[in-house]
């Protein structure tokens, strides 16, 4: 699905990480940890082509990121669900319409009942008609997750999806992502929450990667 070969990234003030080689296979489940500012969000941005690496090769769904046209990149994005760390929405459209965007903007069929079910599962059933600016922090994250998975993507990338959620709701969302993974979606979650990682590891074969010291390492068994 997503292949990094000797990838380095540098925003201009020295490299964040160097020579990262990693493969995210279909159906795999990965966590990404590391101290704040280590480059987790940067890594995810490389995975959906918001950034192009300063060095090395990134292959998204069998296409070289560097060689993709803007339309090919958009086409690839249709099949990658993303939960951004700062969840952004179209502030003038209801939560429901926002969640349906990945389908409606690319001409795919939108099923009202699917959207209703999904919003109910993430606990936003009653806020479906609300405008995004009136959502609470946690509600925004849940809406963003719903938007990322509405189109049953091949890959799900989630950046700190439970940072503003209580433990109960975090578990609920994690179950949703695990369910998705069982249906074949490759999942990559950047998080600081070790409890969450432990909870997931009990359910699914998950690997933990850690960015530290400019390297991507497989985290030790202490988790």
């Amino acid at each position: 699905m997503i292949v990094f070969e000797d990838v380095s990234h540098d925003y201009g003030g020295g490299p964040l990480f160097r020579d990262v080689s990693v493969r995210l296979e279909p159906g795999s489940f990965h966590f990404l940890t590391g101290p704040s500012g280590a480059g987790k969000s940067t890594f995810l941005k490389l995975c959906y082509g918001e950034l192009v690496p300063s060095d090395g090769k990134v292959t998204l769904l069998n296409r070289d990121l560097r060689k993709m046209s803007r339309d090919e990149l958009a086409e690839t994005r249709e099949r990658i669900g993303v939960v951004h760390q700062d969840c952004q929405f179209l502030d003038h459209l209801s939560v429901e319409l926002n969640v349906a965007l990945p389908l409606s903007t690319t001409g795919r069929a939108v099923s009202q009942s699917d959207i209703g079910d999904l919003l109910g599962w993430v606990g936003l059933g009653e806020r479906a008609e609300a405008l995004p600016p009136t959502l609470s922090g946690g509600e925004r994250q849940r809406a963003a997750l719903a938007r990322a998975i509405i189109s049953a993507p091949n890959v799900l990338l989630a950046d700190e999806p439970t940072g503003n959620l209580d433990w109960e709701m975090s578990q609920r969302l994690m179950m949703l992502m695990i369910e998705l993974n069982r249906m074949g979606t490759a999942v990559l979650i950047a998080t600081h929450d070790l409890n969450l990682i432990r909870f997931a590891k009990a359910q699914v074969q998950a690997r933990v990667m850690r960015i530290s010291g400019r390297k991507l390492q497989l985290a030790g068994s202490e988790l």
Binding site: G49, A74, E75, F89, A100, L101, T105, T106
Partner: protein, 290 residues
């Protein structure tokens, strides 16, 4: 929800920057209609002036009384056969007397005077070969003098064509300023919607889709804004008493007849302008967002 429907929804309908497009289109359309009116008026004026002045001339025939009738006949004959002259008419003595009255008073015994005869010509648009006409007249009727009023005519014709020039320059200026302001307003509308563009790119929307959504919204706004501005300007021009009716020199500042159709071109033009400028801006802004 279909793609067309969602494409109408993704760009916020309100917001200062979208209003800015509407209102600047309205304002500039308003001004453009006035400039158009000025231009149409100037063009009519220039036409009227140069037509009425350029196409009249006189031939004055002064000769001893026994020859004058014969020379007048000759002159009229010459004029009838000269290409470029559409009519020649001997001015009746009464008209001549009326013309002179201002200077000579009503009591002067003009009949007793050996007054020269005046022949009024109406020339065609191209006019006669003036030098040739003078030579022929000199040969056939030595007492005849051709006066094409050049001396009086030139400054007025020049003035009229200058006025038209000024009006066209104004129209051009207003057009350019309109273009700049609408382009800038569209570009402000686009830039202030950076978040909309980012979200749409994130969910996989194509550049075409995003650009079309913005361009459609912005050019519709420009069209309706310009429509309102044009309508307002036309109303104002209808309401203001027509200057031309009262002052013959400046006949008809404003539109009349078929000229009322001119301003109707303003809204579609504004829309086309907004379309082109927002299209260009959209793709420029989009290239900055991955």
């Amino acid at each position: 929800m279909s793609t067309a429907q969602i494409s109408n929804l993704v760009v916020p309908g309100k917001g200062q920057s979208v209003w800015l497009v509407t209102l600047s289109a309205a304002a500039m359309a308003f001004l453009a209609v006035f400039a158009l009116a000025l231009s149409v008026t100037a063009s009519k004026l220039a036409h009227t002036w140069s037509a009425s002045l350029a196409q009249t001339a006189t031939v004055r025939i002064a000769a001893p009384p026994q020859e004058i009738e014969a020379q007048t006949e000759l002159v009229l004959e010459v004029l009838r056969t000269t290409p470029g002259i559409s009519a020649a008419r001997l001015m009746p003595v009464e008209d001549q007397a009326a013309l002179l009255e201002a200077w000579l008073g009503p009591d002067l015994p003009l009949d007793a005077l050996p007054l020269p005869r005046l022949v009024e010509l109406t020339e065609t648009a191209t006019g006669p070969d003036r030098q040739g006409l003078r030579l022929r007249l000199a040969a056939e009727a030595p007492g005849a003098v051709y006066d094409d009023h050049t001396r009086w005519r030139r400054p007025l014709v020049q003035a009229a064509s200058r006025l038209q020039g000024v009006a066209l320059v104004s129209l051009g200026l207003i057009g350019a300023v309109t273009a700049a302001i609408i382009a800038l307003a569209s570009s402000a509308a686009l830039s202030s919607n950076g978040q909309v563009i980012r979200v749409l790119r994130l969910v996989g929307a194509r550049d075409r889709f995003i650009a079309r959504a913005f361009v459609r919204r912005i050019s519709t706004r420009a069209f309706f804004g310009a429509l309102a501005g044009t309508a307002l300007a036309m109303l104002v021009m209808l309401a203001v008493p027509n200057v031309g009716q009262t002052v013959p020199v400046f006949e008809g500042i404003g539109f009349d007849g078929v000229n009322w159709l001119w301003p109707l071109a303003v809204p579609p033009l504004a829309m086309a302008l907004a379309w082109a400028s927002s299209m260009a801006t959209a793709f420029r802004v989009l290239r900055g967002v991955t």
